[in-house]
Symmetry: C2
Amino acid sequence: MRQYVVCGHDAPLEPGFPLDDLAGGAGRLDLLCRCVGAGLFLSHGIREDARVHLVLQDELTVSFDGATVRNARPDERTLAGLVDAALEAAGDAVGHRPVESSPGVTVRKRGLEPTLADVGRDRTVCWLHPGGEPAAAASPPADPVFVLSDHRNFEDAERAVLEDAADRRVSLGPRAIHADHTIAVAHNYLDTGGYDPEAY
Amino acid sequence: MRQYVVCGHDAPLEPGFPLDDLAGGAGRLDLLCRCVGAGLFLSHGIREDARVHLVLQDELTVSFDGATVRNARPDERTLAGLVDAALEAAGDAVGHRPVESSPGVTVRKRGLEPTLADVGRDRTVCWLHPGGEPAAAASPPADPVFVLSDHRNFEDAERAVLEDAADRRVSLGPRAIHADHTIAVAHNYLDTGGYDPEAY
């Protein structure tokens, strides 16, 4: 299983955001939707061993499960529609219990800390960090949970959670790139068994 | 300089396509726009040493130059708007001469073969190919032109062009992934100097 937890700092908590202006009018939900696409999609299929968790304003977490998701296409607008439905369903969520808003998409009233406590249990939580160990020098974990941020840096409270929850700090490269591109690179790191030429 | 040439087989040749339905109503222009984003954008900046060329139906080529592009944001809709403007301007293109439709965006009436003959001159044309040399076993070229296809495979005529024009066949991994994710992985391959831990 490969999992990606993405902190969305400006993303909406309410449904009804403008699908025509995801970048400007919906807190960079365009980027978060591309993260879902990068996490779940192969060229002509779905990564059934992958999940993407969008942590919205440290309050709600919308999770996409590659094994069970339906009605998903990789374009931003379609994925934003699934997020919209999840926000609509969030009103029915009680405590940390999930509500399934569409097949393979669930929403929970919880932020980063409880999400990582659950998702990261008995798995290797990897904080994607510019000062981390170079991926090319480290074997990929068997059951990784990569944690990354949207267009903003992690906030102090999130860094404090990560100090406690992260098993490893990993750098995927020397340039600061978009979160969705980071996910594509992380998948490649895992697909190639840590850049083993025999794995290509 | 890093360049990416992406063949779009179903993409529109005329402006006025629906910005609200890029995946279904505009020949998977959503994917091509994400390729532009993956080619040009860093987290908080532009890759000034990068260009992306969209070859539409082997007839028109729309080129984005990271060094000079303006008004670009990484969301699909904004980039599709720049493609729309380029298609609008294509009527003024004569022969293979470029028309600049917006700063850093040019359109030419030419398909894959003349595009590669120009863009690939004195550069290393890399055919991204599942049977190619594993990237992890090969040093990255100094001045690469990566050629890749959209959601369809290359057509026979395109393969014939590539047989002639490609200097190398390169595999970036064992899984068939989307073209935009492939570009993110290729950038990472170059950013890390071929996965050199010292480069992180």
